[in-house]
């Protein structure tokens, strides 16, 4: 039922996307020039970076090749907390035109800054992101990422406007209004987190929306890890194409990378972001194809250059050329983060494994949360799954069967016993539309 399949190679080529197709030597040359300028700028203006480079006996001039980036010190999230709020800025406030901040669920948020040039770069990578997903000037883009300090809303907004599309700046929340607007305004694309969209699917269907009768054809979903199972659920259910977009505030916001029409890995906008894969334990370089932590260096950012930022996102480089023709390289979709792994009874578990196990059970629902507790010194894991009209009936037996099937599937995947609890819709905590997948109550 995939309708109106369009292809970004044919009629929707956006001029801004030209850089996606640069010949590799030109691209590497641009990267090196920009890397040298970025390191110079950071060394000159950011005491933390200068101090660390001095400690290694490094000067900006020591960066002569792209591989020399591996000799530079890493930057980690706590560096941004420690220098809160403005300590990592490399531009005077007179040149900073915008601040954003992370949601800061624990303690102080992280503050990020943009000069006008930074905003222009951000807009450029977002235009290229939308173009890669096959969107163009005739699209009506409903932007349900939160507007405000969160980078998602404004990042997508500027990009969609510059694309020439019609933007509906609806921001997050109020699901019934989202569905009403989607239907009445004829939105052709939706921007939000994948977990929020799966929630909108339920709301829309309860409001009588028939997917093939509305023009929605694409979703630009990001800001949280999700799985192929979730993509299949969304696409099979609604007939739209679900694209994974990647980004993080510390680097620029959304628009660091996105999937093209092949939906086989995310192209990173390498002219603005230098990517490395490192072993998260040893920090050693991981060769192309090997899995490891994504480390990013900004190549154009002025207000807040980031040198070797540890993303904690686990992925690998897909070195093979993409059939879409883009020369900027791809990374595999990010299903897990090195810091969202938890250990229960000696077993390493990633939430994405649990998600895949839940989605493997027929007709199940993708709203879930893992709750870890300790009872009598023994770790317990419970998976809470929101009940929807699809799986609910009037018989107790059906729900008990579903619980048992879900538990079995998760146990089969992880090799440990887990409890499954069915809960009411919308009872699982969400922040900025991002689902909170793990609630660890074991300490305290």
């Amino acid at each position: 039922m995939m309708r109106d399949l369009w292809n970004d190679r044919e009629n929707l080529f956006h001029p801004a996307a030209a850089t996606d197709f640069l010949a590799a030597p030109s691209l590497r040359r641009i990267q090196l020039q920009r890397l040298r300028a970025t390191v110079e700028r950071a060394y000159r203006n950011v005491p933390l970076t200068r101090g660390r480079m001095d400690a290694l006996g490094m000067k900006p001039d020591d960066v002569r090749t792209l591989d020399d980036v591996r000799r530079l010190p890493f930057t980690v999230k706590t560096d941004l907390r420690d220098t809160y709020p403005y300590g990592m800025f490399a531009s005077p406030m007179s040149e900073v035109v915008r601040l954003h901040a992370s949601s800061g669920t624990t303690g102080k948020p992280i503050v990020v800054a943009y000069t006008q040039d930074d905003i222009d770069v951000w807009r450029n990578v977002m235009v290229r992101s939308f173009a890669a997903a096959g969107l163009g000037a005739s699209d009506i883009i409903q932007n349900a990422y939160g507007y405000g300090l969160f980078t998602g809303g404004l990042g997508a907004h500027y990009g969609a406007e510059a694309l020439g599309a019609t933007v509906i700046p609806i921001s997050g929340g109020n699901s019934e209004r989202q569905v009403m607007v989607m239907r009445d305004f004829g939105s052709t694309a939706m921007c939000c987190t994948p977990s929020y969209f799966t929630h909108l699917i339920e709301v829309a269907e309860s409001m009588g929306v028939v997917w093939k009768d509305i023009p929605l054809r694409a979703g630009i979903f990001g800001a949280e890890p999700w799985t192929e199972g979730m993509r299949k659920f969304i696409q099979d259910r609604t007939g739209i194409r679900a694209y994974d977009i990647y980004g993080l505030s510390e680097i620029i916001g959304p628009g660091v990378g996105i999937e093209c029409s092949e939906q086989a890995g995310l192209h990173i906008f390498e002219d603005h972001f230098l990517l490395e894969i490192v072993d998260p334990k040893t920090d050693a370089a991981v060769p192309d194809g090997g899995e490891g932590e994504l480390v990013l260096t900004t190549l154009s950012k002025q207000a807040m250059p980031m040198i070797r930022y540890r993303t904690h996102d686990i992925t690998r480089v897909i070195a093979e050329p993409c059939p879409c023709g883009r020369t900027i390289r791809r990374i595999a979709r990010i299903g897990r983060r090195s810091d969202d792994m938890f250990i229960i009874r000696g077993v390493n578990v990633f939430p994405s494994q649990v998600e895949a196990a839940l989605l493997a059970v027929e007709s199940t629902v993708p709203h879930y949360q893992i709750v870890l507790t300790r009872e009598g010194g023994l770790d317990q894991m419970e998976v809470r799954v929101e009940v929807t009209a699809d799986v609910f009936g009037d018989r107790v037996r059906e729900l008990e069967t579903l619980e048992a099937k879900l538990a079995k599937s998760v146990e089969h995947t992880l090799g440990i016993r887990v409890g499954v609890r069915l809960v009411e819709p919308n009872t699982i905590e969400r922040s900025q539309g991002k689902a909170k997948r793990v609630l660890d109550k074991r300490n305290g």
Binding site: A389, F392, D394, V396, L399, E403, L422, V423, T427
Partner: protein, 144 residues
Amino acid sequence: MKLTQLSVFLENRPGRLRELCETLSGEGINITTLSLADTEKFGILRLIVKDVDRARAALGAKGFVVKTSSVLAVEVSDEPGGLARILAVAEKGGLSVEYMYAFTIKSGGRGILVFRFDDTDKAIAALQAAKVNVLSSVDLFARV
């Protein structure tokens, strides 16, 4: 003959049933009868109301998961053996009772029970053939 029953998923959480009742009372909807099936972790509330569509919409808007299913309102003599007779009819017809519960209303020495059979159409035929009165929703709500 079929009666539409609403079933609502309920977490075992304080105040949840009250919120449901308040949602309905806020809409001026009276619960004619109900039954709560519960397990250790969750419950299913089954409701008979006159205005099914409005009740469903009101509950849906409050975030409850609501499903409808077909049940039968069956007149049962309020005397020893009354229910046994109905069950014998069902058994003979090869039907199984998924669950049942009662109305508080009575008329002329007869009680009314709500039955959920595995096969509603077959149950109507079997009961009517045995001269058991299966009430239509019009008849039922006329007595409420």
